[in-house]
Symmetry: D2
Subunit: 279 residues, 4 copies
């Protein structure tokens, strides 16, 4: 069976890009399995994702592509493979539980290298699944020191992605900039939006009829990077704050799992503060 | 065939309320078809909606209920009947079109008495359905004068409800307080929320993956009264601002129609800034 | 804190039922927290679910209710409590995983007493969560003998409900009739419906755009008892049979969890081949 | 502003197809705006949809493409343009109403040339929107004669598509084969599926929790051609057969509108009995 690769390119649009790019593949006897292309007409930006198979030398393909693409093109070429991830948690289990189960049964192309918690409560859960757990408390130390300790442990695992699975700490730009476009967060979201403490309490008080969740990349601002996936569930007046939170958790875990599937399968482009996704 | 009535009661909770209330109906030989009751335990407030049938004198029932309920109880007793509504519009047709069609084929228990526009563009549409259209421009007059003119025309129709079907004017408390709990608005909504001009443009720029709509009562603040219904639709990067707006319109018209169904069937209680709805 | 009870009654409709039933509670100084009532007008059948609190003797309440209700009334009075369940599985993990997680974190009012499999593959998973696993192979024995062995083990746990979490064996009426209205199954469903082997393969071949799941009680016919919950997810041409099956699994596990929540909270009436559910 | 074209190709897969096809466009100085490509690996079939802009002679492009593609390739090249449709109805208004509104406000790229009914009841509605209505009764004539009369009128309008908007007559293969891949039907659908008369009645009796709709092409068998779009809505025990039908109608009209959008924008390939859709 031949190898399978995923190629992602984004660059300023110009006539003939698809022809030239596929020419590089064609002349290397590679077979395109799926190709998606999109041009953001407003900004004149070209996006293309190609899945191809065949025996090849990736360096040779990259060299060929660089020769025909503008200098500003971003080119990502990866073999189809399992990615390494590290998960950060606090006390809530619902997202990390779901990911540990999917990991155990290989339902997502990821290898959970470790779970890190600023509380100890989820250590037994990780242990149940044979995944290393690191307890790194934030108590009694500065935010910067805490982040240094987190980063030191994370570094040892060389993760492709860092997943904030209900990690309830604000991360400083000093931390997030170490992992550009690699941190994925799951955030509750509401219509209308509620900011600050106890959002489900606020949602209950406001009598909202739907609650949702947003999975997104984290750049400088914890709750504001490029959105990957969003979904909602319907609620009503008879649900207490606790019941709304429970309903919200089911959405959060599904939205996070869907976002990870898209990211781990190399389907996502980050462009400015938004994403282009070829599902 | 016997008459059918809808009774809604809300009051501070106390033991025996359901028994006492249904006793009044029982002793008048009335038959309960459906009964929904809910206690907001946090606030100790009791809500009950009863559909009953039988020949009766509503005044006698009201008198009986007042005798057994606390003074602060709010009691609404209405025969099951078609309600009168007046619709306010600006230029967008999608919500008013949908309501005119439903009205023409009697799919909602409402009688559209008139459509009022601050632009003239939808006059032919109303005319097509034989519904009076009043053009009341806001140009060259003060907001208060404009609202006076609107209120004067509305008053002549004695509507049970006033529907803002994409009426793009901010209404002052002076106007809304004339129609307490009677004004229903449809509002685009997003995760995250976008405030200000051109929300679909903002949503496009932010790369949201869902857009939604909220139907709500209007009290003092145009976009903030008790929520009746909400729903969303999924969008993606390939949709332009215009296409997102189009997708949003389909949600808006369905959400508004659902909200009206609930309100017109007397299923909705307003309690503080939220709703209790027995679907 | 007072005890909390759930009362469910269904019987032929007659005038005054709500009044009489709530009278029994009122005269026992019990406080109604929530009451839902529905009359199936076609069949003249009355359904009522009442949540009440207070110190009481359940036998006294039952005696009082029997005195005022018709002989054919079905009355269920249960304290609000955790139910015992036994789960039957074959090889697929997704539903039982989800239930084991919810059990471990007490997200559903159920106690998983045991998991029984006709294959051994999920034994380690149950073990991880400290739940007894019984391997009862169907190989080399008759269907009746296998069911005898299943029933013998199940009996020792005295479960309130038996959950078929992707148990891929047809159960005979001889078995199902031992557990009337106590067996809950999760079934894939499609539009159009596909019968027979490999339904996801059939769905793929037919190019369906949604796939779904149905949780239902099992009476005589494995796939046909009263429906509790249904939901769907969208799929498209780019998904292989395996990917459609994966998407279907996420729906199946959520639909089963929602159905169990409704059943375990005593919200479900079975009436003929359908359910009345007060959510 | 340059012209915009949509090119759809499907043919047996082989290495280099994307490169060769885009080469024809590139050498004609045409600019690709969006390109979607998919290979059905099981059947080794290649599908590609390309939106391109530029001044060109379509015949020249077709000639170029034929030169580089296998003989069995199906090539569709169309300018982006409004399509002509004829709508067939019986008595129910909900789908045709929605289409007439969208047509009136140019929300879909279609021109409704005429509405044809086998009953007269919707004639005033079509008239309201200034669309010709033909009343062609099926009473007292054979099915073949009726279909001859329908076909004769349809022919005069030369429609690109024929829309069955709740046309409640079974069409014979003799009729449908005159319009291959051009007839689009909207069909109620349920889980489980109900065949025969009064499906909403059957759904009510069975206590289903969701009802749906399927838009599909019609080939030989009225309810069985390639599926274009499907969706569902949730229902519950409190809804009567009539209320379930009403809920179903809202789904039907939205599903039909979505399917038409996809078809009219040339996003749909028919392949055997399924569709490949590039949304």
């Amino acid at each position: 069976m031949p190898d399978e690769y995923i190629l992602r390119i984004d660059c300023p649009d110009e006539t003939g890009l698809v022809h030239k790019i596929t020419g590089v593949l064609y002349h290397n006897q590679l077979n395109i399995i799926r190709n998606d292309e999109f041009v953001d007409k407003e900004n004149g930006q070209f996006f293309m994702r190609t899945v191809f198979s065949g025996k090849t030398n990736p360096d040779k393909i990259m060299y060929g592509l660089q020769g025909i693409l503008p200098n500003t093109a971003r080119i990502y070429l990866t073999a189809k493979q399992v990615k390494n991830v590290v998960i950060l948690v606090t006390k809530e289990h619902h997202c990390v539980s779901d990911l540990l189960i999917r990991h155990a049964f290989r339902e997502l192309p990821m290898n959970i290298r470790a779970v890190i918690g600023n509380h100890q409560v989820l250590e037994p859960l990780a242990g149940q699944f044979g995944v290393p757990f690191h307890y790194i408390s934030h108590e009694g130390i500065s935010r910067e020191t805490h982040e240094e300790q987190l980063a030191a442990v994370i570094q040892t695992y060389q993760p492709d992605y860092l997943i904030l699975a209900k990690f309830m700490r604000v991360l400083t730009p000093g931390f997030t900039q170490r992992f550009p476009n690699k941190i994925i967060n799951i955030h509750h979201s509401f219509l209308p939006a509620f900011i600050g403490a106890n959002p489900y309490r606020q949602a209950y008080n406001r009598g909202v009829k739907i609650i949702g969740a947003t999975a997104h990349f984290v750049n400088d601002n914890l709750d504001e990077g490029p959105i990957i996936t969003q979904d909602v569930t319907h609620v009503n007046h008879s649900q207490s704050t606790a019941q709304m939170a429970m309903a919200g958790k089911d959405v959060e875990k599904l939205v996070l799992a869907k976002a990870l599937k898209l990211v781990l399968e190399d389907r996502v482009f980050i462009y400015g503060n938004k994403t282009i996704i070829f599902e």
